[in-house]
């Protein structure tokens, strides 16, 4: 499969005049996004997500390293025909109506005439703004603005969509509407590069994620890999005190308050070890459950770990 | 954008700088004619002894191209000085205004008029010191507006003809006015200026010329009522001049005795009475000058905008003259209100009283002739001007005679 987005050792340092210390917004970032993926780009505020996206679009020049989009260097003008971008809390000319804004963006792609008109109508229907198409944007709600933002991002029927925090500041209903839209895009076979600090969005829609903190990549992989990684919960009975002490050495967590002891271990090999330890002493294993962590937990865990260092 | 493209663009930008400098050098010399009154140099110089400093809001106005408006506003303010008779302040003001907008023709004519006619609210005064600045000012206006007739004629008629009584100069400037598409009356005034010089035959030729000009215009534009009137007036004047030429031909053989005399009587400090008698019809005027004995008439050659503030020069000629009523004339003078205009700082003063037939009205000239051919007087006949006869009495006064 072709590669939609790729960065190699991407680094961006901002030298602000007022501050003495330069800010490393992105440092040594290498990621790859396959075509057709919904890629979650995660990190707390200030992690460098927006900066990375701006580099990909050619809005910001990297200090070092390289970036490609659809196999072309970032910022390539022809590639921009096949991609689209929804910025973080976007703003559009609010003196225009919905239909005028889309008309403006369609013109930037050189779409014209009847084709333009039908495309705009179609988009307004997709995002559910057809009724309000003649209203000025200054009268739109936040959710409506976000939907017009998505509509402008779809004007050129892009292969790759780059969405920067599309759900920030929206109410739960608008939130889920956006999520449904992204899923629909996935079904159409589009690649989506989705940046967020809100994990609930990503968890439900993304195939793969990268986690960024203070400009550095912490973890990247498929969601299953990341979330499953190493969490097994073993329930067992008839364990004596000495056994429990021994088990503490291999487990990450033990709950021995009741008869049924809960043992958590980090990976499959440790599960075998625990079984081997319990079986000979007459202990009984009730269940072994692979533990899929919530992304929230993983995220908090990782960030905490990194910050400790 | 590729690096190569960027470098090329940068090179083009650098290469365009010499043409910018070159164009500016070509534009600079031509700019003056599009923007008069913008040179800083001229504002500092030549402003007389009261240089005006432009208030800052006016300066701001001139910087952004509103100098004509600023000139207009200053002109309105100058009005105050006219009313207060502060002539020393008028010179720098009008010069400033015309520097800002050298095409404000009315400022030249009204400004010059205020200078040498010296009208103040209390009455008219005739301070001779401002005559030359007024002429100079108009000459400057003419130099700045050489292609319109207005200022030539203004200088000729209002100043040389009416005020000063220099009909040769008046004719000279009227002829210049005539070259710049003037109204009809300019041609007629040339004829009058010739009559005043006693050049009767030239005047007759000019009247004929006037009629010709009117008829030519009528041929071009049959509906021009102005031309019709002009032809009528010119014809009438031509007839009158032809008749007068005959009537006045023999005046010299039977001259009239003017019986002229004039006296000075002090009434109080700077107050005096002039009285006398002369044998000419009503409407004619006796002229008077009362100046420092060492007063030198300023000339255009050694000219300065700074008038001599110590000099006294009361100069009552032409319309300022004392009118004659049934062979007698008298006028009271009170100069105590105008100490600045008439300072009387010297010890000796010369009072001259005379009658000049060239400046007299037609009824008087029917007796005296154009140049005084018909005049005689036992005591005061004066023939110092070749070809002209007039009567003149000179009285020398001390300072205490006046103060």
């Amino acid at each position: 499969m072709a590669i939609a987005v790729k960065t190699e050792h991407l680094t961006k340092t901002f030298q602000h005049i007022m501050h003495k210390e330069p800010v490393n917004a992105v440092s040594d970032l290498s990621i790859e996004v396959q075509e057709g993926e919904i890629f979650g780009f995660l990190g707390p505020n200030g992690a460098g997500k927006t900066t990375t996206i701006k580099i990909l679009l050619g809005l910001v020049y990297p200090t070092s390293g390289q970036a490609w989009i659809l196999d072309k260097p970032a910022g390539d003008i022809e590639t921009k025909r096949q991609i689209s971008y929804l910025p973080e809390t976007p703003y559009f000319y609010d003196y225009m109506s919905g239909i005028e804004v889309l008309d403006f963006y369609a013109s930037l792609f050189g779409i014209d005439g009847a084709k333009k008109r039908s495309r705009i109508e179609e988009l307004l229907k997709i995002v559910g703004l057809y009724q309000d198409r003649h209203k000025r944007l200054s009268q739109y709600s936040k959710g409506m603005l976000q939907r017009i933002g998505i509509a402008q991002a779809l004007v050129n029927d892009p292969k790759l969509l780059i969405l920067d925090e599309p759900t920030t500041g929206l109410d739960p209903i608008a939130h889920s509407e956006i999520r449904d839209l992204i899923l629909k895009l996935r079904d159409e076979g589009k690649t989506v590069f989705l940046s967020s600090h809100q994990l609930s969005d990503v968890e439900m829609v993304c195939n793969r994620v990268a986690i960024l903190n203070r400009g550095t990549l912490i973890k990247t992989g498929s969601l299953d890999e990341l979330l499953l990684a190493g969490q097994f919960k073993i329930e067992a009975e008839n364990l004596d005190k000495a056994m429990i002490e021994k088990l503490k050495e291999v487990s990450t967590y033990i709950d021995s308050k009741s008869n049924v002891v809960i043992i958590e271990v980090a990976d499959g090999e440790k599960v075998n070890a625990v079984i081997d330890m319990i079986r000979p002493t007459g202990g009984r294993i009730i269940s072994i459950l692979p533990q899929r962590r919530s992304l929230e937990d993983l995220f908090v865990e990782i960030i905490r770990e990194v910050n400790k260092k | 954008m590729k690096l190569g493209t960027r470098i090329t663009l940068a090179i083009i930008a650098v290469m365009l700088i010499p043409p910018i400098v070159g164009l500016q050098k070509a534009i600079d010399p031509a700019r003056k004619q599009f923007q008069p009154g913008r040179g800083v140099g001229s504002v500092m110089t030549d402003m007389g002894n009261n240089p005006v400093v432009l208030p800052s809001q006016f300066v701001a106005g001139t910087v952004i191209g509103l100098q004509e408006v600023v000139a207009g506003l200053l002109w309105v303010r100058t009005d105050e000085f006219f009313h207060s008779g502060n002539y020393e302040a008028i010179i720098p003001m009008v010069r400033m205004i015309t520097w800002l907008d050298p095409h404000m023709v009315d400022v030249y004519s009204v400004g010059a008029w205020h200078l040498d006619y010296n009208f103040v609210d209390s009455g008219q005064r005739a301070d001779h010191r401002y005559v030359v600045p007024a002429i100079k000012f108009l000459e400057e206006g003419i130099a700045n507006n050489p292609s319109i007739f207005d200022l030539y004629f203004d200088l000729a008629f209002v100043h040389y003809y009416l005020k000063i009584g220099n009909f040769e100069k008046a004719e000279e400037y009227m002829r210049l006015a005539a070259k710049h598409n003037p109204p009809f009356y300019v041609y007629r005034e040339i004829a009058h200026a010739l009559e005043k010089q006693g050049r009767v035959d030239d005047a007759i030729k000019q009247w004929q010329e006037c009629i010709k000009i009117g008829q030519e215009e009528l041929a071009r534009n049959p509906k021009d009522t102005g031309a019709v009137t002009h032809i009528q007036v010119s014809k009438r004047n031509l007839d009158s001049t032809l008749i007068r030429k005959v009537e006045r031909a023999n005046l010299g053989s039977r001259p009239t005795d003017m019986g002229f005399d004039a006296n000075f009587k002090r009434l109080g400090p700077r107050q005096f009475l002039i009285s006398g008698k002369i044998n000419v019809p009503d409407g004619a005027r006796v002229f008077l000058t009362l100046t420092d004995s060492d007063y030198k008439e300023p000339t255009l050659k050694n000219f300065s905008w700074d008038v001599d503030t110590d000099a006294t020069a009361l100069w009552e000629t032409q319309i300022h003259g004392i009118s004659i009523n049934k062979g007698k004339f008298h006028k009271k003078y009170d100069l105590s209100k105008d100490i600045k205009q008439y300072p009387f700082k010297k010890d000796k003063y010369t009072l001259t009283l005379w009658f000049d037939p060239r400046c007299a009205p037609i009824s008087a000239q029917d007796i005296t002739g154009w140049k005084g051919e018909g005049i005689t007087d036992k005591q005061y006949l004066d023939t110092s001007i070749p070809g002209v006869k007039m009567v003149k009495k000179v009285i020398t006064l001390n300072r205490q005679d006046i103060l």
């Binding site: 679009l57 921009k80 910025p87 | 952004i64 207009g72 095409h103």
Partner: protein, 258 residues
């Protein structure tokens, strides 16, 4: 074509800006107000109205241009509309020139409004004889503002709108004082450093004074030599100078982080 789209959009937005409309209305009112100058003779009155009208058009045009120019690009960055535009197939220089020509069109429309009112006012005071020659003055003002807006555009890439406002206004004033700079760059009594400094200022700072050509317009009787040549030189001057400024703007904008 994208340039045209952006230019049209810029014009459309600018014409809706209240502040610019206010300047325009004030200017229109002031031109009409000039009619009330009464204490002059006919000729003087016409002179004052023409001078005042051209002056007001120049000043109002100057303010409109500066207000427009300093915000032209920074505003797009500030409200982040530039991101959506530049992520579309729009080259940075296309965007920049699109904005610039949009601003220029705005200036032209504003000048046209004012010129119409001005011409009608003058014609009304002059027995309804239209004085088309006055349009030459407006044309020169337009090219002056063309140059001025490219100055504002260059500064807007390096500075904030407020700083830019004072910079551009400063350049305008210095460039309007070219009689001072010219006379200071000559003369035997001045030091070479002073003369050199004023030489640079006179020839390298955009010379806005060049474009004031009111004399022959206000006083139609004045005799002008090579009038057409002068206008042509000025227009070429404006175009060449603006080209240099636009190249600088394009190059700086090209490498700027948004």
């Amino acid at each position: 074509m994208t340039m045209l789209t952006i230019a049209k959009n810029t014009l459309g937005e600018a014409m809706r800006k209240k502040i610019l409309n206010i300047f325009l209305l004030v200017a229109l009112a002031m031109i009409a107000f000039a009619v009330s100058f009464a204490s002059f003779t006919m000729r003087e009155e016409l002179t004052i109205i023409k001078s005042f009208g051209l002056g007001v058009i120049a000043i109002a045009g100057m303010f409109i241009t500066v207000m427009l120019g300093v915000n032209l690009v920074p505003q797009e960055v500030e409200r982040r509309t530039i991101y959506t535009i530049l992520s579309k197939p729009v080259r940075r220089w296309e965007f920049l020139l699109g904005k610039f020509f949009g601003a220029l069109a705005t200036i032209l429309v504003n000048l046209a409004f004012m010129a119409v009112v001005f011409l009608v006012t003058v014609a009304w005071k002059h027995q309804w004889q239209p004085e088309w020659a006055l349009l030459k003055g407006v044309l020169m003002i337009f090219f002056q503002l063309f140059l001025l807006s490219s100055v504002a555009l260059v500064f807007s890439i390096f500075t904030t709108p407020v700083v830019n406002f004072f910079l551009t206004a400063g350049v305008y004033i210095v460039g309007s004082l070219s009689d001072v700079t010219l006379s200071m760059s000559h003369g035997a009594d001045k030091s070479p450093i002073v003369k050199g400094f004023y030489w640079l200022v006179h020839y390298l700072v955009p010379n806005f004074a060049n474009f004031f050509t009111q004399n022959p317009l206000i006083h139609p009787e004045s005799v002008i030599k090579n009038e057409l040549l002068y206008y042509a030189q000025n227009i070429i001057y404006a175009i060449i100078y603006a080209s240099v400024l636009l190249i600088i703007a394009i190059l700086a904008f090209e490498r700027k982080d948004m």
